[in-house]
Amino acid sequence: MNDDQSYKNRPLSPHLQIYKPQITSILSISHRLAGIFLSLGLLAMFVFVLLLAMGQNYYEMWQYFSNSLVGELILMGWVVALFFHMFNGVRHLFWDYGLGLSLTVSKWSGLLVCGATIVISIFIGIISLGLVL
């Protein structure tokens, strides 16, 4: 089998509006959206290290961002996206081993992912509020 050929002629995914929204499909697209959003977070982390290496004056620019309300909301958004992507990623790893693929289990594991994300986000939110106050 010529892999390179099949790679070139690979069909595109059917677009989203084809599907009826269900928890499984919503989590699937959210996983991608969270991944794209986290790419920006990784770039921000790079900028953080860059400003830190450039010296104190530049680092204060970062602090100006991270202490602003908008900055804090964006940072919290990255925390939520990170844990969601992480938990849902573990769900994907189980699927790769053929575990939890049935409709019932994948619905419940999806709900579990949402629940765990909410709990840990609230937990981290409270801790970081405690650090601010």
Binding site: R32, F46, V49, L82, M86, H92, S128
Partner: protein
Amino acid sequence: MSNIVRHWKFQRYSAIVNLILAIWLAVSVLCIHDYSFQETISWIKSPINALFLSIFFISSFMHMSLGMQVVIEDYIPNKLLRKRLIVIIKSLSWLLVICSILLILKIIFFN
């Protein structure tokens, strides 16, 4: 190993490394009390933090590049544009990985 199998495997390897290191990062970030310049610098200067942070950058940029490639392949119908975007993402990831390690080394040795 074909490209596709390699892509699939590295996406999973980097996912597992990221899983471990993201937990480490979250705990570390919560343990730094005030983010003064000096405290953050001394956090990075500790060898284990510098090592883990470097591995985190390598593994995360790899995971990002592989993931964005799949998204681009799925949603960009124009073949030429698709190819170019993937090349841009890959080159950018390599560039930023190298720069981030150099920046960490700069902080360790010159701060």
